[in-house]
């Protein structure tokens, strides 16, 4: 199953887990299934229309999905998905 890497500010939804294995063949599917496993997390990543929030970056195998096919981006069985927030202060 693809592996989703969870940033610190979202780990309260994953019981502190840094990585979660989630089934799915596209980023959109995986985010939906991630929400099933970790209720509340999707709203922090996506806006009310279901689009990835403009300040959140989602990467599939080190490539920003904005430069791929956004939520339609295909995800292979062994891919790693990273959710990367902005950087806090200092």
């Amino acid at each position: 199953m693809p592996l989703v890497r969870i940033p610190t500010p979202l780990r309260k939804y994953t019981q502190g887990q840094e990585e979660v294995s989630v089934a799915g063949t596209t980023v959109g599917e995986i985010l939906t299934n991630l929400e099933g496993a970790c209720p509340g997390i999707r709203e922090r990543i996506c806006d009310a229309e279901g689009r990835v929030r403009r300040f959140v970056n989602v990467f599939v195998a080190d490539e920003d999905i904005r430069f791929l096919q956004n939520l339609e981006t295909p995800v292979a069985e062994r891919d790693e998905i990273s959710i990367v927030p902005a950087i806090a202060g200092g």
Binding site: R5, I6, P7, T8, P9, L10, K12, E18, R44, I45, R53, R54, F55, V56, N57, F59, D62, E63, D64, F67, S82, V84, P85, A86, I87, A88, G89, G90
Partner: protein, 317 residues
């Protein structure tokens, strides 16, 4: 013909002497939404390395040199999300102090390039751990190699708020001719808001000093810290603050866009959030039919945040 700008020093011995004494800009277009209230922003992007962090970096390094804390052969090391790193890089180069920076790997490419240009060494921490991950890694490196590094720790160093106590606050007082009623700015290390507020309250206890924090742990206001979910900086002192505004990312981003389009000020998102906070205070005053002079900080310029263009999209991390 009117002069282009108020007189500034024209010849100095070191770039570090150009830090501070930044201009205050009135936000005539934004303040139309709060009649009777004047909004001003301090143009910290005019500091030589381009951000408000030049002040803290200079005071921190000067203090360390004065105390003999940086001995020959030692490198300054600190963790940073970007701007402090660029400021350390400039001050270090100018004063002959070698610099090592620990940054989360997902800092913007321009920041990596700028710091590298000054000849600093960069060590990357995990992009998933944010700036707290960089703090933890810097502490580990210092522990592992005692004697190699001087670790000023901007989050705990009194010279950080001390810079704003000594310079930013008196400058604002003078630039507003003592008319300032409100000071508001975001928390990164908290150095700016704590140092400036402490001094302003001493000068005139009636001035209301307000901090801004992102409204959620998962936010997009780069450079700002959501303290309830972060390592709280040792220099943070709630006692000098009158209030805190919890700022949504979108409100800050929208204001950053307005500042560029309506005021000609192309600034970063944290500056957008600061002005959005200032406007909230301004509206509260206007709604009550009160007048006021609200001052905030423009931390840096927007071009520090350009994302890579499509053909440059190979991220380093």
């Amino acid at each position: 013909m009117a002069a282009l700008r108020a007189k500034r020093a024209v010849c100095v011995d070191s770039i570090t002497e150009l830090i501070g004494n930044t201009p205050l800009v009135r936000l005539h277009h934004i303040e139309r939404s709060c009649p009777g209230v004047e909004l001003y922003a301090k143009a910290e992007f005019t500091n030589p390395a381009g951000s408000v962090k030049d002040r803290a970096a200079l005071f921190i390094v000067r203090d360390a040199l004065a105390r003999g804390a940086i001995r020959p052969g030692m490198r300054l090391i600190d963790s940073t999300s970007g701007n402090t790193g660029i400021a350390y890089a400039m001050v270090g180069a100018a004063l002959g102090v070698p610099v090592t920076l620990v940054m989360p790997e997902n800092v913007t490419v321009p920041r990596k390039q700028v710091t590298t240009a000054y000849g600093v060494e960069i060590i990357y921490s995990s992009p998933m751990e944010g700036s707290d991950g960089a703090i933890v890694l810097a502490r580990e490196l210092v522990e592992r190699h005692p004697g190699r590094y001087f670790y000023p720790d901007q989050y705990s160093n009194p010279a950080n708020p001390g810079a704003h106590y000594a310079t930013t606050a008196p400058e604002i007082w003078e630039q507003t001719a003592g008319r300032i009623t409100h000071f508001v700015t975001g928390i990164g290390t908290s150095g700016t808001v704590v140092g400036t507020s402490r001094r302003l309250h001493e000068i005139s206890p009636a001035i209301r000093c307000v901090a801004i924090q992102p409204d959620d742990a998962m936010h997009g206001l780069e450079g700002m810290k959501h303290l309830p979910s972060s390592l709280v900086p040792q220099i943070y002192d709630e006692g000098v603050l009158d209030d805190t505004i919890w700022m949504p990312t979108d409100e800050g981003w929208d204001m950053a866009e307005r500042l560029a389009e309506e005021e000609g000020l192309f600034v970063g998102h944290s500056s957008g959030a600061n002005v959005a906070g200032a406007l909230r205070l301004g509206r509260e005053l206007a709604d009550r039919g009160e007048r006021g002079v609200v001052v905030t900080i423009l931390c840096d310029r927007g071009d520090r945040y350009f994302v890579p263009l499509r053909w440059e999209r190979n991220y380093v991390w």
